[in-house]
Symmetry: D3
Subunit: 136 residues, 6 copies
């Protein structure tokens, strides 16, 4: 079993809030991240897939293909976008790093499997000081 990780980056605006909450409650729970006028981040996304090394090619899967899957399913849809209002796979969700990592997992699980590998981990870094990991 070998684990292969591809890093991709994207930039997006977001705010943490829940429309059912009052402004006061949003501020209490989400702090300055609830700013109604948005803020944003440079996200670093690490997608780890696992499987057996193909004895014929010495590779797990084609890295370029993995990169294209991530771009097609994730970064083309979220890069330079507003995560709360424009990203199909985030509709109706709170725009937290936790929710986003979970949503990215759901988008990538099938396409990665179609390449012959198994999705292992989504690591999503929001700033140099915090990141989340999701293993399904």
């Amino acid at each position: 079993m070998i684990y292969l990780t591809r890093r991709e980056t994207f930039n997006a605006a977001h705010r943490l809030f829940k429309k059912e909450f009052s402004d006061e409650k949003n501020l209490e729970i989400f702090g300055k991240c609830s700013n109604p006028n948005w803020h944003g981040h440079n996200y670093e996304l690490f997608v780890t897939v696992k499987g057996e090394i193909n004895q014929d090619t010495g590779l797990l899967i084609n890295l370029k293909q993995l990169s294209e899957i991530i771009r097609l399913y994730i970064t083309d849809k979220i890069d330079h976008k507003n995560m709360n209002t424009e990203v199909p796979f985030m509709t109706g969700k709170i725009a937290s790093t936790e929710s986003l990592a979970e949503a990215i997992w759901k988008e990538l699980e099938q396409p990665v499997a179609a390449c012959g590998a198994v999705l292992h981990c989504i690591r999503l870094e929001e700033t140099e000081n915090n990141y989340v990991e999701y293993y399904g």
Copy 2:
């Protein structure tokens, strides 16, 4: 003469556009950065000041004081904010890295001088792939 640099970070939403331009022209000039729904970045700000080493203390200026000046004049006003609509020193300006670096210089020149050093350079990194430097 010694040069001392302090790094501070902030996150903000922005879009590149000019209200006098048509949507088509904004898109042509600014590309995906003109998205009307905003996007955002983790900015890294490097403020370099210069002067003679104080022979009594071995320091150029108090680094904590420099950090507090940058927070008071810059990061408290822009962190977790929308650069186009909420940041006083960006009012009426295009929210480009170039304009922002120039605006930060204007905000910091006097307070740095009041500490006994001379502002030398504003370096502003928008992503790992691009940054600007402004020397006044």
Copy 3:
């Protein structure tokens, strides 16, 4: 289950030695790290906690609260300090990265649990070339 990691930094002096060992034995086991006049490092501390995403908020726990716990229990007590002589949770221990990671775990396990998450991993980076991980 989601994993959330917070990075904090601190600087400290230390030396690796055991008072029961002779100077020669300390030097043999710990090399230049046993220098009686101390040396020091910029430590990077990564605290990983785990749990279920709160369906009401989209968060695991409040990140600011996690940061404050780390500062209260760890960095306020060790930053700009001498790890061998001034840090309560290192009293009587060898000031190795291994021991320090283990000690940090013990300090943080309860306060993290009180926030509704489970402490998963302490990663402590002493230099760019070495780090330890402790999982309890």
Copy 4:
């Protein structure tokens, strides 16, 4: 149980290809990485070992000894070399990151055990955008 990781770096030339494949098939499978005139990388190698902390010394194993093992068995043999033609432990293998990580594991497993620790993971970073992990 504690996990200790040492980072070492090396530079090497390689090409991805299989001599039994036609040039067209090599190009199809390996893309520009199959260039017959070689290309190369700065590799970052992270070797993680695990075990109990020695209660007498507060250490898992001697870090300098671990570094020397990695140099003796790996970097002295591959640094500034051609991975396809000059590195004994890569003879007859496809020079992929996957194969190289697996080969490094085989070289290091015994010497690490002889130091009193257990080899846990080989992480090999080929570029800032991709790396593999192998756990035996």
Copy 5:
């Protein structure tokens, strides 16, 4: 005057040697970098251009255009290539970081000028421990 820097990356094989020198002299001058079987690096290229901010757009020049110039003139020609034998602008030159930076300057000076900016600096990082800067 504002300075704008774009980072691009490429990987290449090379060896430092001069065909007029004996093998012994090549080894004496260039050390292990003269290995006849090649080695290679991940290069980071920072291209800095300067000029006045365009008051109409708030930009120095279009960053995407700068990136495309660097790809067209430099990285498309050197990425995943052998610097000694396959790169037109390095023909007949010693494949040192110094020579490469100077050659990149010559390739980029005109195209950058055609965009309305002035080439200011080529910074070329060969490893995390060494880089060169060339200002024309």
Copy 6:
């Protein structure tokens, strides 16, 4: 004219204080950095030299030789040491980053000149958030 930079690292303990000052004044001027029990840092030292490219070799100077000079004159004397009490070139000086950069310049100016290059800049990074540059 080409500029070549070599990075070296070292770890050291220090405190900022002046024996002629009272404890209160030391604390007022140097804050927590004046802790009498020491603290420490991982320093990154960037030494930049300049000169003409040698047309015979394509090099400015031998990089390995530059690295050895830095080790011989600087890092062998300060690595894993107490900067205030054990480092000959810091005797009688306040152990600030500013003073240390200036002292490193004085140590390196002659040996660099003896190699046929001119010392251009000492950049000394104390933490990820602050560094000084000294140009003589």
